[in-house]
Amino acid sequence: MTATAPSRPLPHPLAVPATPRANRRPRRAGRIVLHLVVVGLMVLWAIPTIGLLVSSFRPSSELSASGWWTAFAPPYHFTMENYSQVINQSGIGRAFLNSLFIAIPATIIPIAVAAFAAYAFSWMEFPGRDVLFVVVVGLLVVPLQTTLIPILRAFAEWGITGEFLAVWLAHTGYGLPFAVYLLRNFMGSLPKSLFESAAIDGANHVTAFFRVALPLCVPAIAALAIFQFLFVWNDLLVALIYIGLAKPDRLPLTATMANLVNSLGGGWYLLAAAAFLSMLVPLLIFFTLQRYFIRGIIGGAVKG
């Protein structure tokens, strides 16, 4: 996104196209309004997060007495106390690990499963292919809520409620429609000649998949991985239902935090720090891999 283009020769200052004078003044006013609106929106959008960040470093006594903006006037009181307390006491550290345990397998499994299906949808001919694919796309919008009760009952019968396995499987199922959709769109747009020449060289579908389709799909897979990872990392509902009711100590960050919000009326200072800890991983991913993230969103605009 920030890749700098090779420096272009600057137009000579005198070469600026002459605009009629009458035209210039309203234009300049328009530019000022434009910048005001855009910068205004940027500030408006950034303030909530900045407020939380500042709050998380303020002593608890001052948090409840004055707004976060007063921290920028003397006396400057900032502390790491909230963070150390959150990590040591509220089980957030544990929840952080749980989140990782849940999110990593729940990202890898659906992508692996979806890649094969996407290949079949793109490069194999069989009756009913298009109808079946449309059905898969349609499943994108089935509300998770509709599926909770029967799945919960099945998981209880198998004895895996409260196990990480339950959420891994569930996230695989829920993430698949989007994964298949995104990968099929990408794989299907690869040039046909690649696969034809692979077939002439004697490659079967397995070879064509691993040697041609998969390597070329790396950008799409990266986008999908980021998307699915964030989706799982940020999920509250699935974890709450399949883990929370049985084994609260295995809950991920989101659910632990939601419980903190509901239980700590006055424990604000802990909340701010906890929320920021939970945002650490998404923010890191966002700033390092933004390009892939955005590509994933644009490639799969139908995800509900």
């Binding site: 994108l140 029967p150 990392w233 909340l271 701010a272 939970s278 933004q290 139908v302």
Partner: protein, 326 residues
């Protein structure tokens, strides 16, 4: 913990390996069949795992929930109760209130995210700090709704009049002599519902903006230039050229936002839990589930599904139109 770590590693390495083994093995089996059959059988082996997951996690439970919605609450021996659960839903004030709130959500969230997203997408196209503006607007989408809930609990904080306001919103309106307002505890005029919707607008405008912006950049600049040469002002260029060309994109983004608003759960669950007249269908369902009212909870879920089906049909039609162009 160690055994869990071990399982996680096993799964991360094992599942892809098992899938590769599965494909390799089925390919060996398929090649044993006569060539004419190979082409017919092979796709189903490749699709098998995905269809299995989709069938079990999405198709089967949806059918199960529909059936369950006609049964009584007892989890052990559900009786058939006909339409009782639906009768409860449509005669119950809380449930109807939730339905009404979802309609408000649907309209407000869609209009604001798509509208603001469109405005921003068109405006940032003209400034040099476009990547920065986009990043900032887009960032809330990367964090969880629970974290967003915490952020906005701080923003909406309320202190009785006379005390210094620590919440940003009340402090700001206080400088012009308004408020303070207990944003999250005000059922009158649905103030709290609007406060919750504002949080979701903050989160999802970036999403709409990014998609619309991609479409804006896809518009042939010569078209716009031609319109300008014909003497059209910037506003007319937008209204007559840009906007109509963005139509299909706006439709897709709008349907996504409609579905998002119908499924709204996390933000309500964390900020108000449905109190102060902010109940929505998805939260109502989880509440009924926690009461052990599985029949009613299922009926609520079916109502949600019924509301989504028309949107889904529209999306599929849009998608097929797109596919036929490819």
């Amino acid at each position: 913990m160690d055994s869990q770590l071990l399982t996680a590693i096993e799964v991360v390495v094992g599942v892809p390996a098992a899938l590769v083994g599965y494909i390799w093995l089925t390919e060996r089996i398929v090649t044993l069949a006569p060539p004419k059959w190979q082409k017919r059988i092979r796709p189903w082996f490749w699709l098998g795992p995905a269809l299995g997951f989709l069938g079990f996690f999405l198709v089967y439970p949806t059918i199960g929930t529909i059936i369950r919605s006609f049964q009584s609450r007892s989890p052990l021996r559900p009786r058939w109760v006909g339409l009782d659960n639906y009768k409860w839903f449509f005669t119950n004030d809380a449930a109807l209130g939730a339905l009404l709130n979802n309609v408000v959500w649907l309209v407000m969230l869609t209009v604001f995210t798509v509208g603001l997203g469109l405005v921003v997408a068109v405006l940032v196209d003209r400034v040099r700090y476009e990547p920065w503006a986009k990043s900032i607007l887009f960032l809330p989408l990367a964090i969880s709704m629970v974290a967003a809930g915490v952020i906005w609990k701080f923003m909406y904080d309320f202190r009785p009049p006379g005390q210094p306001q620590t919440g940003t919103v009340n402090a700001v309106i206080g400088t012009v002599g308004l408020g303070p307002v207990a944003w999250l505890q005000s059922p009158t005029f649905g103030v709290s519902t609007f406060a919750l919707i504002a949080v979701m607008v903050w989160m999802w405008t970036g999403f709409a903006m990014v998609i619309i912006s991609a479409a804006v950049k896809g518009i042939d600049p010569e078209l716009l230039e031609a319109a300008r040469l014909d003497g059209a002002g910037e506003w007319q260029v937008f209204r007559r050229v840009t906007f109509p060309l963005l139509g299909p994109t706006l439709a897709v983004v709008s349907t996504t936002m409609v579905i998002t608003s119908l499924k709204t759960f996390d933000i309500v669950y964390t900020l108000t839990n449905g109190n102060y007249d902010t109940e929505v269908i998805a939260n109502l369902m989880i509440k009924q589930m926690s009461f052990g009212e599985y029949g009613r909870a299922s009926a609520v879920a079916v109502v949600l599904l019924l509301a989504i089906i028309p949107v889904m049909a529209f999306n599929i039609r849009q998608f097929r139109a797109q596919e036929s162009v490819r």
